[in-house]
């Protein structure tokens, strides 16, 4: 684990740059994280990010795309438009949560 400076704040990140401490995240940080991957956050992005944050707090796991669609009510197609090519990974990155992984 390393410490990175994002939006003038020191935060803990893993080797791929995903934040590792839930409480270090803020909306300002999210905007900077999104800018890092070329995304300008709109209301639609925020809806997805807020669902991820709330769901993680409740369940303790980063929700899958399927869950964001089924429970968060955002169509998968739309998630691909908002966070092109890699929505699961990009949403987790911006929301300051671990990326979705398999068991190996």
């Amino acid at each position: 684990m390393t410490v990175a400076t994002i939006a003038d704040k020191e935060v803990h990140v893993d080797a791929e740059g995903f934040m590792t401490e839930y409480d270090e995240w803020s909306e300002d940080l999210a905007a900077q994280l999104a800018a890092n991957i070329g995304i300008d956050l709109t209301e639609a992005h925020w809806k997805a990010i807020k669902f991820l944050r709330d769901d993680y707090k409740e369940v303790g796991e980063t929700p899958t795309l399927r869950r964001v669609t089924a429970v968060g009510g955002i169509p998968t197609k739309e998630l691909f438009q908002l966070f092109p090519k890699k929505p699961a990974k990009k949403m987790a990155y911006v929301a300051g949560l671990p990326k979705p992984v398999g068991c190996v």
């Binding site: 684990m1 080797a15 369940v59 303790g60 796991e61 795309l65 399927r66 869950r67 089924a70 429970v71 998968t76 197609k77 998630l79 691909f80 092109p84 090519k85 890699k86 699961a88 990974k89 990326k99 979705p100 992984v101 398999g102 068991c103 190996v104």
Partner: protein, 237 residues
């Protein structure tokens, strides 16, 4: 024959191996076998007319022969009961299997939403913890046992070899020896013939020791003994 066939491994994750240590050690396995990979692929539909997989972001992968792993979901009766999540698994505490909504409801094995593999080993270890806890509960005592997410499984890799992985909620698959440190005889996160023999031997053990309820010589909770922790600085022991 093999050089006339093109194999493509398609996954919704960002690689075949997603945990850092496994990815570092095994990342070359697909290349070695000349298997191409298409990561971050979410299948929207299978077009049987043109014989292609089509993703939500309109990528297409043509196929002659398609082998799919269907989404692993819980039972339909869980959906009907209204107790399940979007995958028909009952949300429960990952250490005690108690539902946070209904304190008299437990879910284990393929019925539970535990954040670990839906592997037989995981269910087996979980049930050992559950049994101890449930007996305490029945006696009116506090439940003191906690499941750590311990799972292990063989991964057959061809040519008479297999890999073995052993992990829990906190500790990712690491290299080392299993079940005993140094002597093994099986090797973790490595392809060996002995691992394959271990898998074949487990078939016999499954029917003759595991199902009759005999205690196997492996710990219920994951052990760090035998694991090489140097590769992972974030290991929590």
């Amino acid at each position: 024959m093999r050089d006339k066939v093109e194999l493509v491994y398609v996954t919704p994750l960002d690689g075949a191996f997603t945990k850092p240590v496994a990815a570092g050690r095994l990342g070359g396995m697909l290349d070695d076998r000349q298997i191409m990979m298409e990561p971050d692929f979410y299948i929207e539909r299978v077009d049987n007319e043109s014989k292609a997989l089509i993703s939500y972001d309109e990528r297409e992968i043509p196929f002659d022969l398609l082998v799919t792993v269907p989404l692993n979901m819980g039972a339909e009766f869980i959906a009907r009961s209204g107790m399940g999540n979007e995958l028909n698994f009952v949300p429960v505490d990952k250490e005690t299997f108690v539902s946070p909504k209904w304190p008299n409801v437990f879910a284990i094995g393929d019925a539970a939403d535990l954040p670990t593999s839906k592997a037989g080993s995981s269910a087996h270890f979980a049930v050992e913890v559950f049994t101890e806890n449930f007996m305490q509960l029945a006696r009116g005592e506090e439940m003191t046992h906690r499941f750590d997410g311990h799972t292990n499984c063989f991964v057959e890799s061809g040519d008479g070899k297999a890999m073995l992985i052993d992990f829990n909620y906190e500790v990712q698959p690491l290299p080392g020896k299993y079940p005993y440190p140094v002597v093994g005889p099986m090797s973790l996160l490595e392809e060996t013939s002995i691992n394959h023999l271990g898998k074949m031997g487990f078939k016999w053990l499954y029917w003759n020791a595991l199902l009759p309820g005999r205690k196997l010589p492996v710990p219920t909770l994951m052990s760090m003994a035998g694991k090489d922790v140097n590769e992972d600085t974030e290991v929590k022991v």
